[in-house]
């Protein structure tokens, strides 16, 4: 991997969980940022595009679906990998997220810390092999 640490954005309203993922990501050597709802995420994203966004769906202020509608990943941020990370495995919501440009859905409760980090590694590997460095 390059000298710059890959950056991950966690969008998760539950403070305990948000903190858990951030702690884990920092321990694993990633550049980690966190938002607690879609609106917070949008303002953070004005500064910089991360490599991966983990997006919860049910959140106050602005939920994940609404966030995707504003962020328009497919049209405006094709290089950002969006992983829907929700404990609500309702087919309809997940389908909608896919239609709005999410790349993957993972049940939050399924991912142990080890699996969570493996998902990130796999995603980053796939990203770098799909997209040769643009310089």
């Amino acid at each position: 991997m390059s000298e710059k640490k890959p950056s991950i954005l966690i969008v998760e309203d539950e403070p305990t969980l948000n903190e858990a993922y951030i702690t884990l990501l920092q321990q694993a050597g990633y550049q980690a940022r966190s938002a607690h709802n879609g609106a917070e995420a949008l303002s953070l994203l004005e500064q910089e595009e991360p490599d991966i966004i983990f997006l919860d769906l049910r959140m106050p202020v602005m939920d994940g679906i609404e966030f995707l509608k504003h962020y328009q990943p497919r049209e405006k941020h094709p290089s950002v990998e969006i992983i829907v990370f929700s404990n609500y495995d309702m087919q309809k919501e997940v389908d909608e997220a896919y239609q709005l440009g999410a790349h993957r859905y993972i049940l939050k409760a399924w991912a142990s810390p080890k699996e969570f980090l493996r998902i990130i590694e796999d995603t980053l590997t796939a990203k770098s092999s799909n997209q040769p460095p643009s310089l």
Binding site: E14, T16, L17, A20, Y21, T23, L24, Q27, A28, N87, Y88, D89, M90, Q91, K108, A109, S112, P113, K114
Partner: protein
Amino acid sequence: MTTPKPNKIRLLLVDDDEDDYLIVRSLVEKIPDTPFSLDWTPSFSEAKRFLNDADHDLYLIDYRLGRHSGLELLEFAAPHTRPEPFIILTGAGDKDIEKSAMKLGAADYLVKGSFDRELLSRTLHYALQRKQMETQRVQHLLELNQAKDEFISVASHQLRTPATGVKQYLGMVLEGFMGEVPETQRTMLEKAYESNERQLRIVSDLLKVAQVDAGKVVLRRDEVPVRQLLEDILKEQRDTFAARQQTTELVGANGESYAWIDRDAVRMALENIIDNAGKYSSPHTRVTITIEDKPRAVMVHIQDEGVGIKKSDQSRLFQKFSRIENPLSTTVGGTGLGLYWAKRIIDLHDGRLSFTSAPGKGSTFSILLPKPKTNPQ
């Protein structure tokens, strides 16, 4: 013959005798400010068409309909399932017919030749009123049931969040992110982690069952190569079987047998049954999976050498929350929902899930999965 009259309560009289029709019509017309409009058919088959169209608010049906009877028509209409009341017209003293008509769902009866416009009017109004109340009650029950489904869904999803927190923090400690964990503590933390995992599994099972019970499972069918699917499952469960010192074997269908199924749903059902086969077997046993290609279906037999199922327990196996006692049941700790769900899912596919079992020798679960229709009709 039926011209819809706005704001009128539309009655349909089924009677093969025109004179009777004329009598009923004149009575209906004599009701002061009659709210009713009356249509008539003498024909049994036309009556059936009217019933299918469901353009009327109430049906008056004569018991005698030429070669047919009013009871036949009641049976066809199934009044319990409809919002309109049915009133049967009988001759005097036909007590048995009245009883049968009530059993078939008639709201009331009138004895021909012995009712006037007042009795007719009252009977019609009461029948309509009772039916309306019944419909409201059914609606209320449906709403309650839906509220229950939603409650289960929301509550179960909510339960996942704290358990996910436990999983993350315990997981981080166990995986050494916070420094080395002494062996004695590790053992305890692992138990806590496993206990939490079990809670998460129960929540998932509850949600799956709630969905299937609420009729909310939509199958996304595809042509799925069955052997491939089973190989994937066995690959994923390899470590679990190895940990129990058990072996697995997959036999049959080297040429591809395709089933017309929802891959994810059937995969979960098969995973559950294969996992059970291992869980309810001792170490050093084997689970044999055989694929049998049939003309219209693919059969999968999952055979274990495990504890088996007692005859007296066999009928309960697919029931919700049925925990069946056996030498391994306390250590396995299932939820009693897995097989119920698996059966419901296979049934939704128009497939079949069955088993044979001998206590102490083992069980064979057979899953029949339909093949894609070669010439779609």
